[in-house]
């Protein structure tokens, strides 16, 4: 067993996994269970037996005691959040988390904006001003889909994600939507998601894709009688991924919430 803020849980997986199991609130922007620890965002720092480490890349060991909210860690997270807001203007999950940490974006001088927007693609929208360089899109594109559409360019403060063409629609993107699904900052979104943010009564219905015999599990986001968005669901078959036709052709699926 491993102890997280006084709560016991089996010492399995990473310290971050263990924290999630006990319900400890720990920000983590660059983590995806399917991709393993990226170690990029450094938001999930915790104290393990007195040592400060990143929870995502630290294996949970028997008998460890973990503190997730010491004074030092709170101060660290706020400062990191302030730094992140000097670089980007994230929305979505990342934006909400940074605000919840108390960051207002006033502590550090703003760095030059990365003003790159793209609306050329039929389903995907890109706005790099929101990007926090978590690398999830790049890693998901390569590691989950075996595509190399998105890549990180530059070094140091000029590091940024890019797609190499002037229009995103000119890339070899297969429109699977995985990048938009993993993006925590709103930098990459799909048009369905953009629309769905305006629908307060949205709920999620787990369903099975009917396109082929694989049996991918999908989460249909439903508002009223309409499917507003389809996402690959966590299941042993498709592990959160989905084929492009399933993710982007919600209308043609003809599924209705029954």
């Amino acid at each position: 067993m491993i102890e997280i803020d006084g709560k016991q849980t089996p010492a399995e997986g990473s310290v971050l996994d263990a924290c999630r199991r006990t319900g400890a609130e720990l920000p983590a922007f660059c983590h995806d269970q399917r991709l393993g620890a990226g170690g990029h965002c450094r938001a999930c720092l915790v104290e393990v037996d007195g040592r400060v480490v990143a929870a995502c890349s630290t294996p949970a060991r028997e008998g460890q005691r973990v503190a997730t909210a010491t004074e030092q860690l709170r101060a660290y997270r706020l400062d990191l959040a302030e730094l992140m807001l000097a670089e980007a203007r994230p929305s979505d999950r990342a934006g909400r988390t940074l605000a919840a940490l108390g960051a207002r974006g006033a502590r550090y001088p703003q760095l030059p904006r990365r003003a790159r927007h793209d609306a050329s693609h039929p389903y995907l929208r890109l706005d790099l001003e929101r990007c926090i360089d978590c690398r999830l899109c790049e890693r998901a594109c390569a590691g989950l889909q075996g595509q190399f559409v998105l890549a990180t360019l530059g070094r140091g403060a000029s590091t940024r994600i890019d797609w190499g063409a002037s229009d995103f629609s000119a890339t070899d993107c297969v429109s699977c939507g995985t990048c938009a699904a993993v993006c925590p900052s709103g930098a990459i979104s799909d048009v369905d998601r953009l629309r769905s943010t305006e629908l307060p009564e949205e709920r999620i219905v787990r369903t099975t894709c009917s396109y082929c015999g694989v049996g991918c599990q999908l989460d249909a986001h439903v508002a009223g009688d309409d499917i507003v968005r389809i996402e690959g669901a966590e299941s042993p078959v498709n592990q959160g991924s989905s084929a492009s036709r399933a993710a982007t052709r919600t209308a043609s699926l003809g599924i209705r919430n029954g």
């Binding site: 170690g39 400060v52 101060a75 660290y76 990191l80 730094l83 140091g156 403060a157 000029s158």
Partner: protein, 468 residues
């Protein structure tokens, strides 16, 4: 699927060149199956990719920065390992590296001092079996000379005991720390000692392949090491151990061991989280021992004599009469190194010294009595010593270190990517210390974690000069 596998399938080539090798040759406009945007990602990470060979660059490493009266013009390079003749540029040829010893028994420089012992080539044949080598290295208490001072024997044992079909030995010749040139000295003038050390490691851990990773700035070291490998192969000394030289492409962080493995694979030299450690999972997923050049050079001597090698080569530059590489017994005081080894001050009185490069320590002259050892002065990295005399301010050194940190941060983790460019914007001590803590606690690798180290020292010893 990894990038190289993708390129292999696209290009239909049996074994594609690494992306870095591809880009190091600017004449080739071919993508060799790599996605162009990924090639651009790699090109834009490094300093030298796509550059015409022979482009002149002025060195702005610590010694050259402070030796130069006016700002450097044109393109820059952060250290050519010629700090003893600072300031330099790539346009002028290098003078030989001055070397000497204060050690009772010189080990690292054993073949490089006047009247030195038997020819280096004899060391290959003298190597015993792997278990004997591992025991000798462990018993000698050898610690890594690259900066982390990790016990070498323990690292080798971890690699040996990890079940795997093959293993790798990697010599880290990416001497990025401005002010250090011992690796260059060894690679250029005693490559057989380094290669024999690699062969010893290969035998101890059961590795069939090795890589010598040498930074792009060290052209001549790459040539001499390649020639040494050919010679040793032809002479039959390597007994099937396959070694190749891989060139860096211009990035300080590539010296960090996990970043270095990425660089060898041809990608962006960004560190990855540990565990897994390279000794368990490194190149091609195989157990890989990454060892600094200076550490490896000591190994044949240790194995032969079955003795401890408690010496270190200290590279001294700046305000001393005779700058150069000095081998010392660990525990020798800094004052003794500067006075006896380097002839004392070159003119003006000493003010402070930066020990161990941009992630090292700053000592005021009043503290030069401190012994140089892993215990007495932790965090001194590769132990380059740059002495600053009274003309230079602590603020100037801090600004130099801030600029270095911002220029060389790889950008992979948030605190270091955003924090290093914010260092110079901090207007009071409290603001700066808060940012230093964030860098120290949060950064993924030793770079961001180490950037605050000399700044803390400057704040401790020269608070008035930093924030008047």
């Amino acid at each position: 699927m990894n990038l190289r596998e993708w390129a292999r399938r696209r290009a239909g080539a049996p074994e594609p060149v690494s992306a870095v090798e591809l880009l190091l040759d600017p004449r080739s406009g071919d993508c060799a199956g790599y996605p162009p945007v990924w090639l651009e990602g790699i090109r834009s990470f490094y300093d030298y990719l796509g550059e015409v060979e022979g482009t002149e660059r002025s060195c702005v490493g610590t010694a050259c920065h402070f030796a130069r009266q006016a700002p450097a013009s044109g393109r820059e390079v952060r250290c050519l390992g010629r700090c003893y003749e600072a300031p330099v540029s790539t346009a002028t040829p290098s003078a030989p590296i001055p070397r000497s010893s204060l050690a009772a028994t010189p080990v690292i420089l054993r073949h490089l001092l006047e009247g030195s012992g038997p020819a280096p080539e004899t060391e290959y044949a003298a190597l015993p079996d792997g278990s004997t080598i591992l025991r000798a290295v462990t018993d000698a208490g050898l610690k890594g000379r690259g900066g982390a001072a990790f016990p070498t024997g323990a690292k080798w044992r971890a690699a040996r005991e990890t079940p795997a079909p093959d293993r790798y030995v990697v010599a880290n010749g990416h001497e990025g720390d401005p002010g250090s040139f011992v690796d260059r000295l060894l690679l250029e003038e005693d490559p057989h000692a380094v290669l024999a050390g690699m062969l010893a490691c290969a035998r101890a851990i059961g590795a069939a392949r090795g890589v010598v990773f040498i930074r792009r700035e060290y052209d001549r070291a790459q040539q001499t090491m390649r020639a040494a490998i050919h010679w040793a192969e032809d002479a039959g000394y390597l007994c099937g151990f396959q070694v190749r030289v891989v060139s860096g492409a211009g990035s300080y962080v590539a010296g960090e061991e996990t970043a270095l493995l990425r660089a060898i694979e041809g990608g962006r030299a960004e560190p990855s989280p540990k565990p897994p450690y390279p000794a368990v999972k490194g190149l091609e997923g195989l157990p890989t021992v990454v060892q600094n050049v200076e550490t490896l050079a000591a190994v044949p001597w240790i194995v032969k004599h079955q003795l401890r090698a408690d010496t270190k080569v200290v590279c001294v530059t700046g305000g001393v009469a005779r700058p150069g590489a000095v081998e010392i017994d660990l525990g020798t005081t800094l004052a003794e190194v500067l006075e006896r080894g380097c002839g004392g001050p070159s003119g003006r009185a000493w003010k402070m010294a930066l020990v161990g490069g941009p992630m090292g320590r700053v000592l005021p002259a009043s503290a030069f009595g401190i012994p140089l050892s892993f215990e007495a002065l932790p965090g001194t990295g590769h132990a380059g010593v740059h002495v600053l005399d009274e003309r230079f301010s602590a603020r100037a050194l801090a600004e130099h270190l801030f600029a270095f940190a911002a220029a060389e941060s790889c950008g992979s983790c948030s605190p270091c990517r955003i924090g290093t460019v914010q260092l110079s914007s901090r207007r009071d001590r409290q603001q700066l210390e808060r940012l230093l803590t964030t860098l120290e606690l949060g950064s993924l690798c030793g770079f961001g974690q180490g950037v605050p180290r000399p700044i803390h020292d400057l704040l401790r010893h020269f608070p008035q000069e930093l924030f008047p």
